[in-house]
Structure formats: C-alpha cells, structure tokens
Symmetry: D2
Subunit: 407 residues, 4 copies
C-alpha cells in the first residue's frame, strides 16, 4: 500500500473511535466556525492530529502545522497532508533542534490568529517575538500550562490561553484510562510476560498510577504500591493494596513501573536487592524515574536483543530487563493512547479554540481552564456516542437543590 | 451486665480501632493541651463520642456535652459519662425539640471557650446570642459548613470555624470506605439477601455511591448506575458499570440504593415498573430520596414484619420492600461507621480544635478548611497504626520537584 | 408479636427468595407427588426447613421431623409447626444427646417410606435396626455421604441414597457464594471492623476459601492465602493473591479466617507472633481449626465482653479476639445462609426424593449423586426466577457437537 | 541480526520465564534420562519447542522434529536447529499437506522409541503402520485425546499414551490464564480500542471464557455473557455478570469474543442487529464460531486495511470489523501463550515422557492422564521458581485427615 493510502486508512480507522470529534466536525464544517482564520499548530504529527487538522480546514481555516516532537512524526501522515490537503506541514522525522526552532519561527512569522499548542513552545515564541496578531491559544499539557503561568508572572500574557489538561474529561480519558491500558499493553508487547501471579510494584499512586494498579490487579497481578505522600499511601491501602517502601518492594517485585514525575525513584540501592530477571519500566513523561546511569555503572554486560528491551547483567549475576530505555512505556513500546482517548483530548482543544471566535469581551489576557460547560458538553457527546442515556433533574429536584445549597 | 460496665466495654472495644485518637490522647493528656478551657460539644452521644470527650477531659478541659440528635443517644453512654467522669451531659433519648433547644442554650450560657459542633446549631446560637467568649469552633458536617457560610455572608462570623468535612482523610474514611461498607452491611442485615447475582441499582455516582458500586460488585452484584451528571456517568461507564436512566433501571433492578442528596429520585413512575419483591433503601442523609408518600398511596397493603422492613403491596400485586423507612440505611439498619472511621473524623476535630490554643494572630474570624499539614499528620498517624512505612523524598528529589514546578 | 405469627412472617420472608422451591411447591401440591407417603426428616429446624416440610405435607405426605442439631432449633418454628400444621415435630432447644437418640428411634419405629437426612444419622439407625420399609433417602452433607459410603462398604446399603452435596448448583450456592457472603457478614457483625485496608489471612483456598478471598478483596482487604496444596497455592497466586506460610502470615494479618477442614491450622507458634488486637475466626464445620486450648493456655486473661467475641490477653501483652469461640462464623455470628441458598439446597433434596416415587427398577441399593438433569433443571428454574434467558443450541450446532465428540 | 542469532536470542528470552523447564533441563541432562532413545516430535516449531527439543538432546536422545502445523513454523528457529544442534527438522513455512504427510511418515519409518505429539497425527500413523518400536507417547491437545480414545475403541492401542491436557496445571496456565491474557492482548493490538467503557460480549463461560470475562472486566469492560448451559449461565450470573441470549447481546455489544468450540455462534440474525463498527473475534480453536460466510454474503464491501482487520460494510450501512478472519485471536493477532505458560505445558510432556523410561510393568497399552504426583511436582517447581513457600501438614494434621476420611 502506498504511504498516502496507508495514512488515509489509518485516519479512517481512528475516526471510527473518535465520535465526539465527528460531531464537532459536522457542526464546525457546516458553520465554517474558523472561516478565514489562520491557525498555527504545534502538535505531534500523528493519525489523530491529521484528523484534527482536517476538521480545522473544513471549518474554513488556513492551517500551518509543525511537529511538537520530531520523533513522533509519522511520515505517511506528512505525505498525506502535503498531497491531499491544503494544510502546510513543517517537520520530518530526524530533523534537528535548529530545524525545529526555525519551524516555530515560520509559523509565528506567518502571523496566525489562533494557536493550538502542545508544550507551549509556540506560545512562548509568540511572546518573545511580541506577536500582535494572536487572539487566543490552547495548550494541551501540564508542562505547557506551567510555562504559560511563568510567562504571565514574569511579563504578562499578551493573549488568553486555555489549558485543557485539568479538565475532568481529559483527566478521565487521558491520565486515567488511556495511560493505564496502554502501559499494560506496552509491558506485555515488550516482554510477553504472563501478568497473573507476578508481583507488580507501582511507584506513585496518583491519577495514572492508581488506575494502572487497579487494572493490572484485574489482570491477575499482586500489586505493591510505593508512595511518598501519606494520604495517597492511605488511599492505596484502603483500596486493598500492599504498601512498602521501595527498598523492601525492590526485593519482592517481578515488574516495576514508575508514575511519579520525579527523579531516580528506582536507583542503585534498590537495584542491588532485586531478583533475577525483573522487568523495569517507566510511565512518566521523562526517562528520569529509573536511574539508567546507575544501572549502566552496575552492569558488567548490557545487551539489546529483544525489541524494546535492554538487558543489564549485574556483577551479582542477576539480569535487569529495562523496557524502552526507561522512556514512557506506553508511547515507546505500544501505540500510545487509543483514538478514543485522543478524541476527548482534541475535542477539548477544538471547543476551547472555538471560544476565541466569539468576541464578547469577557476573555482577559490570562490563563484559563476549560469552562465547565464545555467539559460537560463533551461528556454528553461521548455518552451519546456510547449510546448511553442518563437521567435529568426534574423541576422539583432543581428547586430542591437550589434551596439545599442556598439555604 | 449493668449499663455503666456495658458502656465501658463498648468504649474499650471501639478504642482498639481508634489508633490515631489513642496517639492524640497520649500527647494531649501529657501536655494538658486544653488546661482550664471550657469546651461545649454538640455531638451524637455514642461510644466514640464518649472516648472523644474523655480525651478532652484528660487534656485539662471542662466539658459540656449535648446531643446533636436525640435519636442517636445511647443511654448506657450517658450513664457512664454522668457517673464515671466529670463531663456534664445534657440530652436523653426521647427528649423534645424544646428540650434540645434549652440544652443548646445552657451550653452557650455557660460561656464556653471552644465549641465542637455537628450541624452548626451551637455555632448559630452563639451568634444569635452575641456570645463573646468563644475563641473558635470546629464543625463536622457539610450541612453545618453551609450554615456557617451563610452566617458569615449575612452578618460576619464572630470567631473562626474550622470545617473538617472536606479534608482528604475525612472523605476517604467517612464518605468512601465507611459509608460503602456499612451500607452493604445494612442491606444484608435487613434482608439477609444473597448479593451475588442480584442487579443492584446505584443512584448517584459521587464519593459514596462510586465506592459502594465498586464494593458491591466485589460481592458479586451486577451493578447499574443512574446519574444526572454527564461527567460522573462517563466516569462510571469507564469503570465498567452499566448506565441507565432510572426508568429503565427500575424495571431491571433487584436492589436499589440512593446516594444523591436529592428528592424523590425513586418515584411513582419508577415503582410502577419494578419487579416483584425488590428492595429499596437510601444511603443519603435525609429520608427524601425515595418517595415514601407515593409508595404509601400506591399500596393496597403495608406491613412491618421483619425488623427494619416495610412491605408495600401494590395494586399490581407486586411487593416493594423498603428498608428502615427510607432513612439512612447504614445508621438505621447497621451499626453506622466502624470505629476506625470515627477515629479519623474525631482526630480531625481534635487537631483542629488544638489550633485555637495557639494564639499566633493568624486566625481570622472566618471559616477554614482543615490545614493540609494536619490532614497529612493524621494520614501519617494512621499509616503508623497500620504498620505501614512509606518512602521519603531524598535531597535530589526535593530539589528536582522544586525546579520542575518553579521552572 | 406472638411466636406463631413471628414464625409465619419469617417463613413468608424466606419464601420470597426461594423461587425454585415455590415452583416445586406448586407442581408437587398439584400432583400430590408424595400422596400417603410417610417421610422422616432429620434436619436443622429453621425457617427454611418449615417451608420444606410444608411442601411435603401439601404434596400429600405424612411428615415426622426431628432436629439434626438441638442448638439450631428455632422455638417459634416448632410452635408454628405444632400448632398450624399436621407435621409431627420432635426436638427442642437444649435437649440432651439421649433425647436426640430417642427421637431418631421414634422416627424409625414409625416405619417411614422415605428419609431426608442431614448427617446420615437416620440412615445409619435405619440400617442398624434392619428397617425394611424405607424405599430411599436423601443426604445433604459431605460428612453424611462418607458415613453412608462406609455403611455400604461394611454391610451393604439396604436402600438407595442420593447425596446432594456434590452437585454443581449446591456447590455454587452453598459452598461458594452462600458461605463467602455470610462469613463476611459474620465478621462485620461481630467486630464492626472496617475491612478496607485490613490484611486478611485466608487459610485454605478451596471451594469456600477461594470465593471468600475474592469477595473480601472486593471489600477492600489485602488478602494473604495460606495453603498446603501446591496446586491450590498456585491457583491463588495466579489469581493475584499473596501466598505465605502461616508462620509468616501470622505476623502480618489483621483478620484470620480458616477454611481448611483440618485441625489446629492456627496454633501456638502462630499466635506467638501475631500483632495486637487481631481477629480470629473459623469458617470450617468444626471448631477445631483454631487451637483454642493453646489460646487459653497462653492467656493471662480472658473476657467475653462484646457479643460473640472472646478477648484473650496474652503474656506478651497483646490481645487476641476470637469470634464465636472458633465455631463456624457464618452460623454463629450471622444468620447463616441466605434463603436464596437454602432454596437450592432443599430443591436438590426435594427433586431427588421425588425420584424414589418413580419405581422403574433402575435404582439399586447404592449411593448416588444427584443426576445431572436434575441439577440442570434446578439451574433452569433459578435462571427463570432471576428473569435470565439463555441461548439454545440450534440444529446445526447440535449436529456439530455430536460429530466433534464422536469423531 | 542474522536468523540463527535471532533464534538464539528468542530462546534465551523465553528460557528466562521457563523456570520449571530449566529445573528439568538440569536434572535430565545430568542423568541422561533419554540416553540413546529415539524421540519423534510433532509440534509447532516455535521458540519454546526449540528449548524443549534441546533438553531432549541434552538428555541423551536422538530427536526428529516435524511441524504440527506449517503456518506456525518460525523460520529462524528451523535455521538454528539445523545449524546449531543435531536435531533433525522437517517442515518449513508454506509446505503442502502432502509434504506434511510425508514428514510424519519419515518419522515413523525412522522407528522412534518415544513420541511427543500435538494433535495425535504421529500416534495415528504409528497405529496405521503397525509400528512396533514405540514404547510410549504423550499428547498435548484435547482433540488429540479424543482421537486416541477412538483408536483405542476401534482397534486397541499398541502402546500407552499420556494425555496432558486435563491436568490441573495445564488447565490453570494454558486454558485459564494464558488464553485470557493473550486474547485481550490480541484484541488491543489488532484494534487499539480502549477497553474501558466498552460492552464486551463473551460467548461461552467455560475454562477460558470465564477467566477472560474476569480479566476484561478488570480492564474496565462491561461484560455480557452468552451461554447455552444453564449451570454455567448461573455461575456467570453469581459472579456478577449480565447474561443475555446472543440475539439481545448482539444489539448491545461493542466487542464480541467467542469461546464455545461450536459452530456459527455469531450468525446472520445476530449480525443484522449489531451496532456500527463493532469488533468480532474468536478465541476458539477453529475459525468456525463466527459465520464468516454469512458475513461475506451480507457485505456490500469488504476491505483489509489495518493489519489483522477485515472490515465488512453491510447493506444497512454499518461496518463490522472482524479480527484475523475469525481465526484464534491470541495466536493470530498476538504472540500466543507467554513462555511462562508453555513452561508448564511442556514440563508436563517431559515428565510424562520420562515415565516410559521406567519399565516397571505397570503401564498398559491404554490412554492415561498425567499422574497427580507429577502435576503436584510441577506446581511445586513453579512455586519455587516464583519464590513462594507454602505450609506443610504436620503429623497431627495428617492423622486427623486420615481419620476424617476413613471414619
């Protein structure tokens, strides 16, 4: 199959499970929501992004897309966008930091009206360049959110930004269910290990780690949770999990997965006591949670044999199997988030971006979370797509609630 | 066994599972934290409350206790407190509204320094009476919290109030695990029904309902969730539950339990389609969630035979079994919260009350939530009592986190 | 409420959840299945037994009932049967061994046609007495089954016996779901302990123990399994449970429950290392699984304070809380099996007893299990009562299966 | 990496998780258990089989291996065996039925002493050829077992056969945990669907289907079970699953998976009512459970786009996505059983084969199951490998058990 056809098939497949986006596509296209708007995107150039960009185009926008991360760029998707749409695409697999920066620059120079960002690099550059055309931007990540906060602290934002990462629906689909499933998927693909009967050590019982703990227990694992926060530790304990400090857990675990966002959560003193042939992986954003340097120093041999596995043979004769060099396991060893998850992530971005097309003077040059009604709207669209009906409050109940709260 | 001895045994048993309170008892007694303070309590007069009041007394306080609700007063506990301690007790089972009001009045007239409240009635009265002696109060319930908010809105608070209901630990033990277990307990005691294989309809997938849904699924039930909030409905769906509007759920359920805080969640149109011999109960605070009036009107016969069960025979020949007249099922048909839950609830009150003994000028006449460090402290004490050790951040990790957030 | 009325209400309540029995009642009554038969019963005299006995009476039988165990006799049920039916009842609470034996003798002297037994005492006596009237018997327990086997080995059975204990449905309802739920119920009633966060040690991962482990994990417990059988231990491990020898488990558990059928599974060396205030209970038939003698010898104090709890204070200062003196916890501290479970247990007995009314010469004087078609029939009746429809094999599928197996 | 090296790496990886086999390898090699024995194997030529064959060789045997199924042959493994061992290998990917038959013939002509079979084709041929050298055979599959039974019925076996399929450990690892995990793996790889929130229809609640239902519920699915057997349906209901006839389930499901061993379990009348974009797959041995012919006839379009997916567009406009053409999904769309599962499967074969080397005259020319003590032995070896210790019966307990059963 040629690349363009392949990209089209991939988009078609993803689209099946992106029911909220399909609803939005229909309305936006009909209403030409972004007629003549210039929209600059800095996103991972993937199947789902192509679908997103096409919706913008169908809504009347001119679209300029650069890659948030060169490694995640899918070549067939680039081919498709370049050949079958009017979307301008910058970024190819293997481009340099310099290329990346020049691409960002090109988009800002193009003087976009709107920005959709993943990591706040476009937003930052727009500020550095004193761009005056932008009327609003959306930002997908937590990292990006903190960057924007800092900009606002130091030199005031020049346009409003809506950060979508903290919305209920984003958290539910992306952090909770998307991550937990794809991490399990990544572990099984990389190792073909039988989960049943394994001791799985979960470091970090936050949004992602807690649901992962739940699901992998559902697959037959005996879960041990490590935490630094007493409240989360207690929450895990009351959910029936065993809690241990990592030093003790290290000696019992068969599979270790980190969800902490912190550095060297698994380090020399832990690796020292591990059993032979344990599996280590990381589900956090950066490859810092497992101390790879220590691992390399401790190793007398190191081999990459099976795909996505590095085997470190230690002086004590034991082998430690590291998945995907400690990089985020669901991206590196599986397909990342299911399309059904990106459906929500991108729907939040789209409906947030739409807000900037309504100039009612209420938006300040500040950073916003997604308005509750949009989050609710997306939940409703998703329920509809799932064929789920829910109850509505009747008149009596509305009255009661009002009084209960006011009174 | 005579009543006093019985009360002592009950307190001794509860104390076993109140490990956080035991720690507090030890420190407060040694340090005489409340030396010569006059403390007015308006609480349910139960086993755990007796333990709480004794701790206050041992900490040097003079204690005056009245019943938050006459129905929950345990006579043996009153006997014990009156005969074996210097705590003054007002309130007996069966007292009238008038008695209740006079009791509150007596406590305010006594000019207490501190108040511990459950429902904010003492706090309200102190405001109405322009009391000037009180330096601070704690309030346990959400209802009380809203009352205090309203006072503050309308006429400004005269002393600081700490509301404990929204703390992480209170939510975890009380709303989540305490309620879910005791509701299951109540249903089984009232009916001796086999849960396995039953369709259980859960109305309201909030803090309490969601964990109840989880636990009763763990007992073998097939759970259907009813919701009015699309986000919660979606959350329930992603947790694997079936979602239906009540009208459809009504025709499928064997057991129904309401957790909504709203009125007439189960009403005539639902009862009309129910199967024969279904079981209805309510886990919400008030007996309003199931429309008892409708049930009575629809019934051609009504019998109280088994303890805590009313059987309504409908015109269509079917029988509806209502537990505890729709009153809160875990209190009415089981023993209420386990002592391990009240341990946390009361520890939060005690450590909050302690804050008023430290006059550092930072407390305003405002309403506060429990400070995070107290909540954490309680989590730590509980973990210790459970014999659970957790990790600590090392220096490198502390530095990393600081930079990650600031930078 | 007077005793007879009370008994009637209890029977009426139980009957609601005994849907298979109701179906059988209807058919047997209409067809007078046992017209003029003399049927001797040796069963626990409980609510459900009263319902069973009434069905036999309505089916035309003369019924003579004695208590399988004097302790389980419910006085109100005796009153009801004596006053409101023609069933003859022997046995009262507190009767002696001698009384018990005389009662059995009276029933055999009465020359019954059929016997329904629980423990095979009537069956044994009939053999010892060379009874010649009996054409068949049913036996409910495993213990009884082994007794009958031995009779047959030593001196040949004089009439056919159907043992119902090993049928699929009996196992599913009684051993698996009935026991697991009622044991949890018993533990909570006796202690009011919060299950969430507790380490629960399950000794014996057989039919009962495995489902109990599952359900109590579903209630938030962290479960440790102890086993002597390597295959069952492996099965538990693959289901995600932690496996430890009792000596190690003893030091970690908060609640211990035995399901082994063996002696002194928890003994001195285990009790020695237990934590303070652990809870011990037994779900096996006899009170032998926890070494009570050792416990008494180790104790410097022993108190029965809370109902169904004995507290042993050890020399090491720790307290061990034993539920119901180590007797079967679901019977002793809760209400025993739900009516929905006895529905299946007794339906199996009734449909087995019916087989003896069809004299087609195929029944030998041997011991039988319940024929598969009866077990299936009961499953079908129960599904119907639950409103559950299932698929049927179509012609093509029947043909395929036949060929697949033969060919 | 060249093919031989690649095969060696694969074997090395698999060997890590085949701890029971490693134990056997050590003992068999040391004791030269099969010194000078000629062993004919008819197995899938996979990584794990290579490890097995090497153990036989190291134990002193001459080994001749042909492929049980040409499609499953891994070319690199063939390369490795041919170049790096003295094992003779027949069979290559793409060979014809004729080739296959000739290979079987060559092995029988070679006059082996022992046979290890998967499907009983070697065993059948040996009988047809009146082979007289064979002293025993092992057979892995249920299908093979039934074939051997038929041979024995029709013309008497000429040598003893041990069928390993029904052993406790085989069932636990292979049917239950191996299949359930790898089926989930196959579904996710083929579709990248988010399991949470999906309605998953499980046809057949047997050994495989029941654990699959459990695990996929653990991953967040809402499970519907279809059954034709009332007892299994009841078992599923009591485990909390919803039971529906396929006709109703068909209209509700998002993902369908068949585990029945029967024909056309999903057929035209079901497909007619399915929702758009449902996913169908089969976990049974043969691709007969979903009526592919009906699907093709109903389709107005049919496309293979995504790997392992065929999309059928129906006249009603809906798309049905079939995984791996209805062939066994865990083999076709994932990696089949984890090595930890094959560890048990092959260990059973090896220890069974060893029995034929001990000529104590007790083995008849009959078909046997694996002796209980071997199954227990394997369980013990596996527990040891998992680092799990279990309890042992003490003297008192052994005595008690003996008396309890005899007496």
């Amino acid at each position: 199959m040629d690349m363009i056809k392949q990209a089209q098939e991939k988009i078609r497949w993803a689209r099946k499970y992106m029911s909220v986006m399909k609803e939005i596509e229909e309305r936006f296209s009909a209403e030409k929501i972004f007629q003549d708007k210039k929209i600059g995107l800095c996103l991972h150039i993937t199947t789902e992004t192509a679908f997103l960009a096409r919706i913008l185009e169908k809504s009347g926008a001119k679209v300029y897309l650069t890659a948030a991360n060169p490694l995640s760029t899918q070549a067939d998707i680039v081919s498709y966008l370049e050949n079958e749409t009017r979307i301008k695409v910058l970024g190819f697999r293997g481009m340099t930091e310099q290329d990346h920066f020049e691409n960002l620059q090109k988009i800002i120079d193009w003087e976009p009206d709107l920005i959709m960002d993943d990591g706040a690099e476009l937003i930052s550059l727009a500020h550095d360049m004193n761009n005056t055309t932008i009327i609003g931007a959306t930002e997908e990540t937590a990292t990006g959110y903190y960057k924007v906060l800092k900009i606002d602290d130091e030199s005031n934002l020049r346009f409003p930004v809506i950060a979508t990462n903290f919305s209920f629906c984003h958290d539910l689909f992306d952090n909770k269910h998307g991550t937990s499933q794809s991490v399990i998927d990544g572990i099984i693909r990389a190792t073909n290990a039988l989960i049943s009967g394994k001791s799985v050590v979960v470091a970090g019982y936050g949004q992602c780690g807690s649901i992962f703990a739940d699901k992998i227990r559902g697959m037959g694992a005996n879960v041990i949770v490590c935490e630094v926060n007493p409240q989360k530790a207690l929450e895990a304990a009351l959910a029936g999990f065993r809690i241990l400090p990592m030093k003790q857990a290290a000696a019992e675990g068969d599979i270790f997965c980190t969800f902490t966002g912190n550095i060297n959560v698994i380090k020399k003193e832990h690796i020292d006591v591990m059993k032979d042939n344990v599996i280590l992986c990381n589900a956090g954003h950066y490859d810092i949670e497992i101390d790879k340097r220590a691992l390399a120093q401790m190793a007398v041999g190191m081999e990459k044999t099976r795909e996505n596995i590095t085997e470190y043979v230690l002086e004590n004769g034991k082998t430690i199997n590291l998945i995907a060099e400690g990089r985020i396991v669901n991206m590196a060893a599986a397909e990342g988030h299911p399309a059904a998850v990106m459906d929500i992530t991108f729907a939040l971005q789209l409906l947030s971006l739409e807000l900037f097309t309504i100039d009612d003077g209420t938006m300040q040059t500040s950073i916003y979370e997604v308005p509750e009604y949009i989050d609710e709207n997306i939940a409703n669209l998703k329920l509809e797509a799932l064929g789920i009906q829910i109850d509505e409050l009747d008149h009596e109940q509305l009255i009661y609630l009002e009084n209960a709260i006011v009174d």
